[in-house]
Amino acid sequence: MDKDKMDKDRENRKDKIDRITEYTDIDNGLSDVQRVKVLSPGMLVVRRFLRNRLAIIGFVIITFMFLFSFVGGLLTPYNETQVFRYIGTMSKEYVSVTINEEFRFTVAEGMSYGNAAHARFILAKNRGDSVFTHNDDEYHIIQEAEDFYRVVLSEPKARITYIRGVMSVTPLENGLSFDEDVQNAIRQAIETEQTSFIVGEEQYTLTRQGRDYVLGTIEDVAIESLLITDGVNTNKDLGFGFKLALEKALRSGDSLSFQFEGDFYEIEEDENVASVYKVTGSSREQYALISQMAVQAISPDVVLTIEFKTALEKAIVDGERKFTYPDDAGNAIVYDINRINNVYTVKTETRTHLISMHEQPSSQHWLGTDKHGMDVLTRLMYGGRISLMIGFLVVLLETALGVVMGGLAGYFGKWVDMLIMRIVDVFFCIPFLPILIILGSVMDKLDVDPQKRIYYLMLILGIMSWPGIARMVRGQILSLREQEFMLAAEATGLSIYRRIFKHLIPNVIPQLIVLATLGLGGVILYESTLSFLGLGVKFPFASWGNIISGVSTAYEMTNFWFVWIPAGLLILLTVLGFNFVGDGLRDAFDPKMKR
């Protein structure tokens, strides 16, 4: 214990001796020639400044900030507003499926049947009518099955009178006769109040006209159905005839096969979806798909195959939330099915260009990327440029204004002094931050260009902050002008301009430098606060303040610290650096406070 203490004592003593020898060795040695060397006042200031450890730290910080912002901005491989993207997968809407609840029509070849006629059909159907007219044409509705109608034109062939079981048929054209089968069918239709009937291959319509009936042969115009038929070949229309035959076969219930134009087709029904196969010899291939679902690709350049549609519709009918289907390369791709009322959206992971938002720090982006996908480090460098530039220009402006106004007030006194000082008082009373906020929001409303905004901001800050400097300059000059050297200057007949700016102002420069340095920190703080509130420097330009304000939610705050913490630390360090230097300069210029 004692030994320790002794060791320590000895060490301390040795340390002290070392320091003394060091002190005497360098330039203050009493035995040295240098002791007669007199340092200039400027050198004395520099020496005192260099001896202040905090000031040196501050100086190093500021030098670093300058290098970081101005040189760093040149070295970084990225741009201020360069957005980084990558190719990634993203859940994107691929297909939308709608359960069809509206009648859709297919028009027979050579017939005209448009939306207007379709609307009339819907009206007639809802009223329960079997006939509707459109453009002077009389259309007949023949219900083939539930939700499946044929719309036909009827050509009158015969007039039928039917009174209490006695029926007479009068052909409307010469040489037309109706055989027994037809007559029986007519009778049956009248008795059961049907509007159409089939005899052999021919279909007839029966329309009541007053007491009589009119018999007509039909000509197909269109079919109206809730079902949607998709062909394998999406470019080729399936044709009216095929659809009619298919729907008829489907509705007939038992015969799940039909013939059309010499080809033989088979229907395979699966609840609400039916596949149609074309049978050629012993082999068969899918030819069409019929269901109540309308399947549409979201992107127009995607062609959906019939197999995909079949698989998707089956999955929807089965109530599945996911289904897998191989793509062209044979890879199984998972599709998510979401239902909203009658619309199903099918999403799949699609490869697209994505913005790399909030990327963690990596070797490529040392501080990650922000929410716009821009490199944070690069933005910090450019932000530093703007912050420092604003700081220096504002301080330059406010110092120039302050020196001129303060110099005039101090030198001339009397009413000039009175006027200027009252102006200064008025400026002191105007709340600084609120005015900045108001002017900022005015610039917002006026949609000022972000580039010009920066200059306006500097101007406003400079105009708002000169009174402090003016007050100091005036005070100094008031005491200086009573001194002998000013009397001498006046006696030599120097001009007023020369007296103020060559003799008085240089004596104020030390205090000016101190105030300006301390003011720099203040300006940077104001600028960043304004930018943080979104009223200063605007995106896309970077500023340390608006980098922080880019992080607004608690989630971003906690998870993406690498975006905003460095910006805040840079502000803190820069302002601290200026304050250290300013403080050191004050001590160096004014050694009164020293020991």
């Binding site: 008025v426 009373c429 105007i430 931050l433 609120p434 108001i438 606060t529 922080i548 705050m557 803190l572």
Partner: protein
């Protein structure tokens, strides 16, 4: 003394006239779209008057249909009678809204003020007593850190650490969700929990300048001849510091603290906004951003009055505390 105060008050009144004139000019040069938006909004309320009617009425109410100078005098005429009009943002008389929110700011400011004094003054004295010691450097660094800290950054960091990571204090607001169900002790604790972070922010930010001010003044006093005399008399260091030196340091200290008393009502714009405390600062921020001219006018003039009052109090206190500068 009375003449001096009277003269100062008179000057202050003239000053206030010009300050409010400048503020009024700035507010008037704001694009008129504010009034138009306001009129549009008001006219869309159920059973409201038409847009043009509102526009003319609003323009008339705020003297917008007149030139800037007559408009200012109209504002001034009602302002001196205490009528600052209705706030557009809050739809109540400006003075009523002010009375609602001012106490939040006052409480916040006062607590921070007391804490600042309690921490900054002793530390400043300590730093001065051991000038150039490690302690002095440490305190200086802390003081400069406090001055250099951007309020918004510091508040955000505090929120991150204490509200998000540690979850000790709420993120923002003045009262919790279940405030009304709590008993009086619970309510007090709830309020205290909500006020902790804002008070901490204000205290740390504000501590620096006061600490440095104390240190500088204490140093000046310690270098004075009467301290050397006191030491030469053989007084104990404790007595020299606490009795002779501290009392003399109090003169500038009391002056500056007295001068900052009106500032307690000024509110803390950034801190209140970040912690969403319904004080005058936050309210004024909302008003300013939404272009609520009546409230903003009132707030700015109020701030100017506080500044003038502050300097006035400081000057008077200076004369009161220090008999050497007493006038007349």
């Amino acid at each position: 003394m009375r003449r001096y105060i009277l003269k100062r008050l008179l000057i202050s009144a003239v000053l206030l006239f010009f300050v409010s004139l400048i503020i009024y000019i700035i507010m008037r040069s704001i694009p008129t779209s504010y009034v138009e938006t306001q009129a549009r909004m008001l006219s869309q309320l159920p059973g409201a008057k038409s847009y043009t009617e509102w526009l003319t009425q609003l323009n008339e109410t705020y003297g917008m249909d007149k030139g800037i100078v007559p408009g200012y005098f109209q504002w001034l005429k009602s302002a001196v009678r205490g009528d600052f009009g209705d706030s557009w943002q809050f739809n109540v008389p400006v003075t009523q809204k002010f009375a609602e929110v001012i106490w939040y700011s006052f409480v916040l400011g006062s607590i921070a003020f007391v804490l600042e004094i309690g921490i900054a003054v002793p530390l400043g004295i300590l730093a001065a007593r051991r000038q150039y010691s490690r302690m002095d450097y440490g305190i200086t660094v802390i003081a400069l850190l406090g001055i250099s800290l951007p309020t918004f950054f510091f508040a955000t960091v505090l929120k991150l650490i204490f509200a998000v990571w540690l979850d000790w204090f709420p993120l923002y607001g003045t009262v919790g969700r279940f405030y009304m169900q709590l008993d009086s002790i619970g309510r007090f604790l709830d309020l205290a929990r909500h006020y902790f972070l804002p008070v901490l922010t204000l205290t740390i930010i504000g501590i620096g300048s006061l600490m440095r001010y104390t240190r500088t003044n204490m140093l000046e006093v310690l270098n004075a001849d009467f301290i050397r005399t006191a030491r030469a008399k053989g007084l104990s260091e404790k007595r020299v510091i606490n009795y002779h030196a501290f009392r003399n340091t109090l003169i500038p200290l009391v002056t500056i603290l007295g001068g900052s008393l009106p500032g307690l009502f000024a509110g803390a714009l950034i801190t209140e906004t970040l912690f969403q405390i319904q004080g005058i600062g936050y309210t004024a921020y909302l008003a300013m951003v939404s272009g609520d001219i009546p409230f903003t006018m009132f707030y700015m003039v109020f701030m100017a009055v506080l500044t003038i009052l502050g300097t006035l109090i400081a000057d008077i206190l200076y004369a009161v505390v220090d008999p050497r500068v007493r006038i007349g």
